[in-house]
Symmetry: C2
């Protein structure tokens, strides 16, 4: 199995609301058969009915409303100012900032939010991680750092 | 907020077990401060303690064991044969195949599995999605197709 991810699909109960939220952050996607696809660099973020996703995966969806996914997405940004700016954008778009921007143990600065469906995101400035001009992220060689 | 994802962090209860599973699939990562980082194209998959992740996000982790995340990762592959081959690899590595390889409504072929921590993955052949030579995925223009 190659070491890569093609899609991250977020199960949603209200597709229109979720789509509006990401659009309010400036994202632009395509809706096709009650599914929304956002091209995110060399992969895609997909919004799809949570019931349909669980059924497609053949797993029972027994999570309580508001339960933590056990998963967090993250966007690394280029400065502390970006973190503060995006936190304001997220709040204005109706996201729930669960942890306000704060210094991190690794010398960075970050905040967390949940989208309207409760999916967790971190937005982080981490001076140890390289963000390339095209927005891709390259991990450091931790052994050398 | 730019339209991109830098990290997908999977919360884990047994880091060593989760690391072994992805390594058994052929992935190679770096462990740093009880966190495992896998470079996946222009982003990274991260394994981190589920309790630590929930605490970092300042959200309560009330999910029952075995609950669906509400999220699925996917890897798109180049052929139906790849789907069958990876399903066998995943089973051999100790993954739980929740849905065996089968035809999909969009003319593709796919299976789902859960990693040892219950995180859902789909491996799919979708003839409508382009997989580039470097493994990145480009969505079609649905309006034109």
């Amino acid at each position: 199995m190659e070491q890569r991810i093609s899609l991250v699909t977020l199960g949603v109960r209200d597709l229109a609301r979720a789509k509006r939220f990401y659009e309010a952050l400036g994202w632009r996607g395509q809706e096709m058969q009650e599914t929304v696809f956002f091209q995110t660099g060399g992969m895609a973020l997909v919004l799809w009915g949570r019931d349909q996703l669980a059924a497609d995966a053949a797993v029972a969806d027994i999570a309580a409303a508001g339960a933590f996914d056990g998963v967090a997405l993250a966007q690394n940004v280029r400065s502390r100012e970006d973190v503060d700016r995006i936190a304001a954008e997220v709040a204005a778009a109706g996201g729930e900032v669960t942890k306000a921007p704060a210094d991190t143990f690794y010398g960075g600065y970050a905040f967390y939010f949940r989208d309207p469906e409760g999916h967790s995101w971190e937005v982080a400035y981490n001076p140890g991680f390289t963000i390339n001009a095209d927005g891709t992220l390259t991990l450091p060689d931790f052994a050398a750092s």
